[in-house]
């Protein structure tokens, strides 16, 4: 089971995506499509992924995250991730993702920091 919930803040300039359940190759296509649909309509997107409820992820998930990072960077936006579970944190370290991504221990902390950027 996998579910993605999206909401926008900051007059639509900040997109929060909460991922829940198991993110694998089968679900990756859907995640990419729904996030990209929103990103495409945002001139300078801020994207926050909240992984608190993510119970499983493999390298397909890394690919989705890396792909969104490139897309956001390409539009001079910013991307951050909140609540990285320990199992996912291992994959981030293996792939070097933890070095390029801004990681926060809660959604509120990430939102505070990202809103400061826009002010």
């Amino acid at each position: 089971m996998f579910q993605i919930t999206l909401y926008k803040q900051n007059a639509g300039s900040l997109l929060v995506a909460m991922l829940q359940g198991e993110l694998d190759h089968h679900e990756a296509t859907h995640v990419r499509e729904v996030i990209d649909k929103e990103l495409d309509s945002m001139p300078v997107p801020l994207l926050l992924l909240d992984l608190e409820e993510l119970s499983f992820m493999d390298s397909s998930g890394l690919g989705v995250i890396l792909g969104r990072y490139k897309k956001v960077q390409g539009k001079r936006g910013q991307m951050a991730i909140a609540n990285v579970p320990p199992s996912v944190s291992r994959l981030f370290e293996m792939s070097g993702l933890h070095k390029i991504m801004r990681l926060y221990s809660s959604q509120s902390e990430a939102l505070r920091s990202m809103k400061e950027v826009t002010q």
């Binding site: 499983f56 397909s60 890394l62 690919g63 890396l66 994959l91």
Partner: protein
């Protein structure tokens, strides 16, 4: 006396819907080894990587089957994931971290690296036009198993 080994095999269509089925089936089968949560996560990840590879890369433009065999040998488990698909031309290349043959699909290129680091033994054999076979062995190091061995 040696306990007889416990084995199971599944054959399923190379469809992405079956990725979660495959990793959950293996996790359920090896539950009898009393693995830790961390070990279960590692096994599920490795199965997911191998099965996803078979589906995406083994059968890029055609239908086919994925063959999964799992065997419990004492405190070790062996898994074989096989496809009868297109095969891999250059195994050294695909095993490099961050290499992907499908950047168009947003692949991270980390599948083989993850598999190698989560298990004790890892082998890939492949023949172009015939298919690919991944074999891995993982030791379950739970306190429960350790106690059994002391007896």
């Amino acid at each position: 006396m040696n306990k007889p080994s416990n084995e199971m095999s599944i054959t399923f269509s190379a469809l992405s819907e079956n990725e979660s089925f495959a990793r959950v089936a293996v996790a359920a089968f090896i539950a009898q080894m009393n693995p830790t949560l961390e070990e279960i996560t590692e096994i599920k990840t490795v199965i997911s990587e191998a099965v996803t590879n078979a589906i995406i890369h083994g059968y890029p433009d055609c239908d086919g089957y994925v063959f999964l065999h799992c065997k419990i040998m004492g405190d070790k488990m062996e898994v074989i994931v096989e496809d009868h698909g297109v095969g891999i031309e250059d195994l050294d290349l695909v095993r490099q971290p961050l290499y992907t043959s499908r950047p168009d699909l947003d692949r991270s290129g980390m599948g083989f690296t993850i598999m190698e680091s989560f298990v004790e033994q890892f082998e890939v054999t492949s023949k172009v036009g015939e298919g690919t076979r991944v074999r891995l062995v993982k030791q379950i190091r739970t306190p429960h198993n350790a106690a059994v061995h002391e007896v």
